[in-house]
Symmetry: none
Amino acid sequence: MESFRGRFTNKIDAKGRVSLPAKFRSVATSQGMSGVVCFPSFQGSFIEGSGPRFADSVLQMLDRLDPFSPERNMLASVLIGDSAELMFDSDGRILLPEELRAHAGIADEATFVGLGEKFQIWEPKAYEAFRAEALEKARAYGDLLKSPTALPPAGGAR
Amino acid sequence: MESFRGRFTNKIDAKGRVSLPAKFRSVATSQGMSGVVCFPSFQGSFIEGSGPRFADSVLQMLDRLDPFSPERNMLASVLIGDSAELMFDSDGRILLPEELRAHAGIADEATFVGLGEKFQIWEPKAYEAFRAEALEKARAYGDLLKSPTALPPAGGAR
DNA sequence: CGTTTTCCCATGTTATCCCATGATGTCCCG
DNA sequence: CGGGACATCATGGGATAACATGGGAAAACG
């Protein structure tokens, strides 16, 4: 099962187009969609994106909440209301909506970060800062890596 | 169950290509992947690599965390975002990304070290130095290796 | 109509394929 | 036991394809 992996920084042209990294494109395509689903993160200034599979599971997660609860409404308005289905053109590019770009503070370059089932789109420098912090915290969170099915011996991340 | 074993030093050509040792190649292939997954170690200046089995176990571990939790986000950024899927070409070579090479200080030669479920890629001289130290430490750590048939099952994975 | 989006083509760069070479290792047969 | 004959492997280089990127023209939209 393919997943989004790796980090790529691409340019945004005058028309607002940006190449979705070829590898991401093939993941989305393998899930049966000639595009990706994107929405603003509610945790920071970046964009969350995924193929149809994860997008569907988000819907399922929402359905587990009380349909009229304020929590569900809030989450749904961001995860669904603010989301966009971005189909890639014949050259594999997508058009990032102004709103999403503004949310992430993206001007003329965008960094795509693969995270497994989903990926994120960042303003390059902002990601650089986030990553530095993540690298540090990762050590602290390392304990999570040792859980149940345990990673093979020499443990990947300590 | 095959595992990565042995040490090999190969040259990197002008295009950045390097032969994955044939034995490593067959391990990856036996796990169903015509390539390997590599990422910068956050413990030192070398590259970590593995076949799909180990890589998938990392993905599964991440899937046990809530999809939007900061923990998952940070771990995935480091473990997946910084990793690269390197498929070998028809001659069994991989193309080491500039970033990984820089992290390991690799110029025109790379040393592959098998470690069982995963392997590492080092700048030859750097590995030489590490190995000398490892040999010494191994003496002290030797006690940690308990016989599998020893009485108390030493509880879980560490 | 004017604006935005989509399609199509051009270009430079990078990655991939394909073939050649030499070195090493393996196997078989005398 | 020795000596090829042959496979495997690492390595180099030229040719080809894939990719990111820019721009013009057609099409859709309001």
